[in-house]
């Protein structure tokens, strides 16, 4: 029995100038579970992930990984436990696809040789449904859906124990969204990883989530298992999942 959550946020706050983006966020993510964060655009979902990764420093609050402070200890060792798919893909456009995928494996002491890294990249590309020919193309030569898949392959290449997906289906057609959702679900299950996914696509939520947390006005408005979202009785959550213009969430933000 292990009841220390994998990721634990305690009173995390972050402002930009006078704008309070996160105000006292508390959230626990249990190891091996898939947590989906929903919420309107600009509510600070991406900022939340960046705070966990230490790309941004929160103004207040504490972030614990396995019960230990995220800012203590070796930074490289810390980061090597994470994989992240960025909102816009964030592929390095000066590097070919295979090098993007195997980027982390070419860094540091235990780095792979070029051929080994390339072989592994091709394996990971196949895992996300891309042909080996793609390996030598450059990111600019790929369609949006292919870029997302390459980003996915890069996020999982080093087999991290925690994976973040920032809006994995935004900008994709419904069929491709469905494919990506299934892929994420499969990969998370087969790797046994802890996943945190940001989305505002309800079909993604239902496909990916074990637990759901809704961010609104800098706080976690509601959190609970996926099975309970339709009967939560929370007016904010109801408005969001039923996509209504009327409700407590102001449409002018």
């Amino acid at each position: 029995m292990n009841d220390i959550p994998k990721i634990s946020l305690r009173g995390v706050s972050k402002s930009f100038g006078s704008k309070h983006v996160l105000a006292n966020v508390d959230l626990d993510i249990v190891g091996g579970e898939s947590m989906v964060i929903i919420g309107g655009s600009g509510t600070g979902k991406s900022v939340l992930l960046k705070c966990i990764l230490g790309i941004m420093r929160p103004d207040a609050g504490e972030i614990l990984i396995d019960g230990k402070s995220a800012t203590s200890g070796d930074r490289d060792a810390f980061l090597s436990r994470f994989g992240m798919l960025f909102q816009g893909g964030a592929l390095f456009d000066s590097l070919p696809v295979w090098h993007n995928v195997a980027f982390r494996l070419r860094q540091g002491s235990g780095r792979l040789s070029k051929t080994d890294a390339r072989d592994l990249a091709i394996l990971k590309l196949r895992r996300v449904g891309l042909k080996p020919e793609v390996a030598d193309l450059y990111p600019a030569e790929l369609s949006g859906g292919m870029q997302k898949r390459v980003g996915l392959a890069r996020a999982i290449a080093a087999e991290p124990e925690i994976i973040f997906f920032d809006e994995p289906t935004t900008g994709l057609d419904p069929i491709m969204s469905c494919v990506i959702n299934e892929l994420i679900r499969e990969i998370v299950v087969e790797m046994g990883a802890t996943a945190m996914t940001i989305t505002h696509d309800m079909s993604s939520v239902r496909a990916i989530a074990d637990k759901v947390a809704m961010l609104h006005d800098g706080k976690v408005q509601w959190t609970g298992p996926i099975g309970e979202i339709d009967a939560s009785g929370d007016p904010y959550l109801d408005q969001f999942i039923n996509a209504r213009a009327e409700g407590p969430i102001e449409s002018v933000r």
């Binding site: 990764l53 980061l79 994470f82 960025f86 816009g88 982390r104």
Partner: protein, 264 residues
């Protein structure tokens, strides 16, 4: 009444820009110290350095060559005209050489490479910032200062002296061509005068200036891009800032270096 508010507003705006300037100076200094601290600690990305040497150095050769060639030629014409007023036309080769090597070679190359390279570094890093590629580097256990900034700054510092060496030579050649073809100098005498007159100190000072200018333009390109604002507008602004700040710094540091290297 209106006059006082106008004056107050004017003074306030001067105060604000002064504070802004001091603040940016502080931020650049912090960036500089951070860059230096990463230069002396590994890991060092040699492949990246290689790319940047090629990009900054090799591809800047035509620009630097053309600029110094024409400037050397124009310099010869001007010095000839000026010298004629004192019956001292014979100084053309030596003054062209000293002007080129001590001042114009490094300054012109510095400004041209700032326009060409600092801007493209700023646009590149700015785009990487805006599209989260810099954040992505961090999550892939790669320090963006070490992977992006250090290779660019080091490459610019290494490559500028080489470019200036070529630029000086071509500039002196420009003077020579004009001297021989238009001003009836004897080819052998022209070269003899140039070689006899130039001292070793002229050359080393030229190369020191070049290295310092290279460091400045690399640093300002990286600083502007790395701290680029959000969106396409942020990147555009970063590009402009890089060129303007690098050029102004190169010209002012040039004056300081001239004072230091050639005390009156």
């Amino acid at each position: 009444m209106a006059a006082t508010t106008f004056i107050q507003g004017f003074l306030a705006s001067i105060g604000r820009s002064t504070l802004g300037l001091i603040a940016s100076f502080g931020r650049v200094t912090i960036f500089l110290v951070e860059t230096l601290s990463h230069i002396i600690r590994g890991p060092f990305y040699f492949t990246e350095l290689g790319h940047q040497l090629l990009r900054i150095g090799y591809f800047s050769l035509p620009v630097v060559g053309l600029t110094t060639l024409f400037t050397g030629g124009a310099l010869a014409l001007q010095i000839y005209a000026g010298g004629a007023r004192f019956n001292a036309e014979s100084v053309v080769p030596s003054i062209v050489a000293i002007g080129m090597v001590r001042e114009l070679g490094p300054v012109l190359a510095g400004l041209m490479v700032a326009g060409r390279v600092a801007s493209s570094i700023a646009a590149e890093l700015g785009t990487m910032r805006v599209t989260e590629q810099i954040d992505a580097l961090t999550t892939l256990s790669t320090n963006p200062m070490k992977y992006l900034v250090v290779p660019r700054v080091v490459a610019a510092t290494i490559v500028m002296p080489l470019l200036v060496l070529v630029g000086n030579t071509i500039g002196i050649m420009g003077g020579y061509l004009v001297g021989v073809a238009r001003l009836d100098f004897n080819a052998a005498t022209y070269i003899q005068n140039t070689v006899d007159f130039l001292e070793f100190g002229d050359l080393t000072s030229s190369l020191i200036k070049a290295a310092v200018f290279g460091f400045i333009l690399g640093l300002m390109g990286c600083y502007s891009g790395y701290n680029s604002g959000r969106g396409a507008q942020g990147v555009g602004q970063a590009t402009t800032n890089a060129v303007v700040s690098a050029s102004v710094l190169i010209l002012s540091v040039n004056y300081l270096l001239t004072e230091l290297l050639f005390p009156a």
